[in-house]
Symmetry: C2
Subunit: 277 residues, 2 copies
């Protein structure tokens, strides 16, 4: 049996939908579930999904791989429903932006032999089936976060599953992943949101921004349904990351106001050095 | 005499250099000065600039248009040197990201009949002659900021000069421009810088970011030589803009930490509403 010959995808959003397209293009049989039944119907009409799963998720037993591709709070809940339905050789993975809680949940559900967490760094501000596209994962980094006691063979299966789509798997402990991503992903998201809210409060429209300002505010268009649970789940690390930026903003404001004209230039210069490395 | 048949450009950076390319492509004669004599030589070799100006700026008297395209602190100083060198029919304009001080300086120099400030919203994080390219101004908004008592005919000349390159002139009082740009341009710049510095402090490299994080930090690669004088000149408005974002970040952090799980989702939702308008 070829790995991934029958894959069940729970959630046909940007990542799940794109994965479905890549799988179908490689000849896999794809079953899908989404709260939005219209998305599933559209995916079936396009020949991307071959089977709609019911809310009771009957039919998962046949899947060689099950992918949880919902917001992280829904994925935690779904994992408990999926656990008794899959057979012992099924690989379960996910695509959520936080990993510690779901990896821990999987262990508590007795899924150490079947679950390997994953986080493809392939999202953008768009969301939903309409944004899904083939090749989204190609060249994207995918963090692969197994349980501490995971069988290397299982980890290898998960790694190879993601590598099939041209993604670049990077093994990382779930706790390290979440601390790192607080800075590399969740922090930029909230900064973009904060700028958008400040501009909205000032009555500035996005169309008034130049290309630079539009870039900085692009993530403000992201899905609240996806991001709020991610940020709340990773709130401790993200709290510290936000404080770090608030400190830098305060320092920039001091440099702006102070008598030393060179202080601001030096901070801008230090940022450019970081940018260029 | 066709407007802009002989244009002197002081500063061959991203904007000045791109303008030189557009002018040359339209058959204008272009004279240029830059502290970096190599850039001028290269522009001459490429047939974009036809004449190198000396540091004493002799030769400006023949120019129908003089464009100051240096960092804003240098432009203020240059304007004083240019004033006695141009003839009474010369249009003097600039490209700086702040407008109040240079418009005021022009008035004090007796240049109300010759100077109209301008700010093409066409910059990005790259800088220098090497980044200059034809068509940069096409479709870009150009803020045109005359002195309060400016002759409408002079303003019209300036507007038509910029419109030649496909730019879209928007008339605005210099003080309104600076207050507006504090939010639409200078604030995103400093936010991007603050994030870069926070990431640098944490040892995170730009290559570790996803596409969203890379977008938010792109402006951190901007020229400190260009931006430090802009921010310092507009420090009062920018100070308030920074405070507005710091307030939003604090509110996001409270929503993250608080017991109301919906509070964060609501803020993310409000930002997305702004994004989508």
């Amino acid at each position: 049996m070829t790995e991934g010959d029958f894959v069940a995808i729970l959630g046909l959003g940007l990542i799940g939908g794109s994965l479905a397209r890549d799988l179908a293009a490689r000849g896999a049989r794809v079953a899908a579930y989404d709260l939005d039944r219209g998305a599933v119907r559209q995916a079936i009409d396009e020949g991307v999904v071959h089977e709609a799963l019911d809310a009771d998720l009957g039919g998962l037993r046949e899947a060689s791989v099950v992918v949880l591709a919902t917001p992280v709070d829904a994925a935690l809940e779904l994992l408990g429903r999926v656990a008794p339905l899959v057979n012992t050789s099924t690989l379960i993975t996910d695509v959520g932006s936080t990993k510690a809680r779901i990896v821990e949940r999987a262990s508590r559900l007795g899924l150490d032999g079947r679950f390997v967490g994953a986080h493809p760094l392939a999202g953008d501000h768009r969301s939903g089936w309409g944004a899904a596209r083939a090749g989204l994962l190609c060249g994207a980094r995918v963090y692969v976060c197994p349980a501490d006691r995971a069988d290397p063979a299982l980890v290898d299966r998960a790694t190879r599953f993601w590598a099939r789509f041209g993604a670049e798997p990077v093994l990382m402990r779930a706790e390290v992943h979440d601390e790192t991503l607080a800075y590399t992903s969740h922090l930029p998201q909230l900064l973009s949101t904060a700028l958008a809210l400040a501009l909205a409060g000032r009555g500035v429209k996005r169309g008034d921004l130049g290309s630079g300002g539009r870039d900085v505010t692009r993530l403000a268009g992201s899905s609240p349904e996806m991001w709020a649970p991610v940020a709340r789940e990773n709130r401790e690390a993200l709290h510290h990351a936000l404080l770090a930026v608030e400190r830098e903003l305060g320092a920039l404001r001091s440099a702006l106001d102070g008598s030393d004209a060179e202080a601001l230039r030096e901070r801008l210069g230090a940022a450019r050095v970081w940018f260029e490395v």
